[in-house]
Symmetry: C2
Subunit: 365 residues, 2 copies
Amino acid sequence: MNLADLPTPCLVLDRTTLTRNIRVMAAALARLNVPLRPHMKTAKSIDVARLATEGQPGGITVSTLAEAEYFLGHGITDILYAVGITPQKLEQVCKLNGAGAHIIVITDDADMADLIAAQPVPPRTLIEIDSGEERGGVHPDSDKLLELAARLGSCLTGVLTHAGHSYAGRSVRDMARIAEIERSTVTRAAGRLRDAGHKIDIVSAGSSPTARHAENMAGVTEIRAGVYMFGDLFQAEIETHGMDAIAVTVLTSVIGRRPGRILVDAGGLALSKDRSTEATPHDYGYGLARDIDGRRSLGNAIVRKAYQEHGVIDLDPAFKVDLPIGAKLRIVPNHTCMTAAAHDRYFVVDGGQEVVAIWNRVNGW
Amino acid sequence: MNLADLPTPCLVLDRTTLTRNIRVMAAALARLNVPLRPHMKTAKSIDVARLATEGQPGGITVSTLAEAEYFLGHGITDILYAVGITPQKLEQVCKLNGAGAHIIVITDDADMADLIAAQPVPPRTLIEIDSGEERGGVHPDSDKLLELAARLGSCLTGVLTHAGHSYAGRSVRDMARIAEIERSTVTRAAGRLRDAGHKIDIVSAGSSPTARHAENMAGVTEIRAGVYMFGDLFQAEIETHGMDAIAVTVLTSVIGRRPGRILVDAGGLALSKDRSTEATPHDYGYGLARDIDGRRSLGNAIVRKAYQEHGVIDLDPAFKVDLPIGAKLRIVPNHTCMTAAAHDRYFVVDGGQEVVAIWNRVNGW
C-alpha cells in the first residue's frame, strides 16, 4: 500500500521521526537521571506505547479511562490517570484494579480524598500540586496539602504537577526556568509531606517542553510527557523540537483550484479547529501543507480557513505549484493531540510513501 | 438509565427540541414551497435522518462518503455528496451506485467533468456555483459554466450553491438579503444552462440561516440545511434560532473547584476547539454551562479555557453555585457540527433526565 492509494483525509505517522523523537527525549532524561512515564494522551496507541516505554520502567500516563482500559487489555498495568478523579470514575478505577490493573489516581479535593480512603481496596493516590499553571492542584506550602495527606492516609503514594504554563514560554531558556519552578515546587511539596511522616514514593512532573529543556530534575522520580513523540507546529514554535521532528501529518487531496489557492478535503474535522500557533512567531493557520513525501516543496502554503470538510490553502507566491484535482498533500498540524483525535488509525510510513503498518487508536471516553 | 448515571463526557440529544426544530424548518420551507434535502453532516445518524426527511422527498445531503455508505446501508439511496469530487472518490461513488445508491456528485473543474462523463455509468452531476462565499464553484455568468456543462454532457443534472457567507450575517434582515443573492445566483446559472439546451432538474441551494429566513425561493428545487436540527450558540447569535432551540449538549462532571471557577472533564476534545462565537455579540468561549436539566441556573457560566481533557468554567458571580466533585453539568456548544463529531453516540432525552434511546453516529471518512 502507498500513500497515493489511501482514501483521504487520513492520518500518516512517520515511524522514523517517531523513533528519533523518542530517542532524543530518552537521552535528555537519561542525562537528568530521571525515568519517563510517557503520556499516551497524544498517541493513544499500544504500538506507540511499546516504543515509548522501551528502556523505561514500563508505566504510562493516560488522560481517559478508555485509554486505561485499552492499555490494560494490551498488558500494561502500571497506569497513572492524570486527570482529577470523580466518585463515578473512582468506581471504574477500582473495578479495573480488581481486574489486574494498578491504576494510580490524582486529587486535590478533600471530599474525594475521604472517598478514596474509604474504598475497600483504595487505589494509590497522588496529590495534585499547582506549580503555576493555575488549572488544578494545591499550593505546595498550603495547609490543604497536609490535610489531604491526612485524609488519604496509607493510600497516599506521592505528588504530581504539570507545568502547563510552559506553553507560554518561547525559548529554551524560558523552558529551563519553568522546569526548575516545576521541580522545586513538586519536590517542596514532597518534602513537607515526608517531614509530616508520609511515605512519598512518586514525585511526578512534566510537560514536553520542560522535560526536554530541564537542567536539573533532582528529587523528581518520573517525568510525564506525550506530545514530544509526534511533535507539531506549536511545539516547534516554542522550541521543544525542530521543524524536522514532526511525525504526524494529515494526508489530503486537492478538491478545488483557484488563482493563488487550493481547496483540500481536510477541514476542521480532519485537522481540528486548534489555533495554537496564533500566539507564536509564525501563525500557521490550521496547518502547513507539505508534498506527499513530507517535503516543504510548497514553501509557506498555509491552511487559512477550515470549514467542516474543506480546507483553504493559501499558496506561497514564491513557489510555483500546479496540482490537479486529486493530487495529495500532507498537512502538518498545529496541535497534534487535537488533530490525531479525529482519526481512528495511523497509516505508518518509514520516511517514504510506502505504508508499512496500520496502527489503531483508542479515542473517546 | 438517567443522565446522572452516564460516564462523562458524553453527548446528550434532546429529542423534544430536535423535533421542534425540524418542524419549524419544514414549516418555513413549506411557506416558500420548496422541499428539503437535509444535510446530515451535523447529525450523521439514521435516526435523525428519519425525522428530518419526514414529509420531504426523502433525499439527503452528506459531507463524506462514509456517511453515504452508512445511509445507503440504512436504505437511503437518493444522496447528494456536496463536496467537490476527486478521481479516487468518483471511483468509490460509482461502486456505491453500482450497489444500489443514486449518489449525485458536484464539480467545478473541467478535468473532473471529463472524467465523470467518461465513466461507464456516470453519476448525476451538479455544477457548483459560487454565490459569494468564494470557497468553491464557478461564477454564474462565466464561460466556464457553459464549458463544464458541455463536458459533462448528459450526466449534467443541475446546479448547486451554498451561501456559506451567510455566517457573516448578524440579523434576520442580513439573512433574507443573502438568501436572495443565493437564490438569484443559482437560478441565473440554471437559466443560462437551460438557454444553452441543457436539462436542469436540480437547482440546489441552502444553509441553515438562509433557509430559515429566505423570503422567496422561486426557481430553487431543493434546500440543503443541517445545523438547524441541533442548533448551537453561534447559530443563536446569528439569529437562525433562539437560545431555547439548542438540542445538543455535552454532559460533563465537575473535577475541580476554586473560588470563582470550576474544572470539568469536558475539554478541547469533548467540546472541540471551535471559537465561532468569538466574532459574535456574545463570546461564549468554548461553550455555556447549564445544569443537568438543561436550565440556565448557573447564569453566564462560560468555558473560558479548554485543555485536552479539562475545561475551565468561569462562574457567574451573580449566581451562587456549590457543586461537589462529580456534579454533572451540560455544556451548550459553540458549533454543534464540530462538537458532535468528537462523540460516537447520542444519549437521547425527551426534555428530562431519563435516557430514552441511544443513537449512533457515523464519524470519520
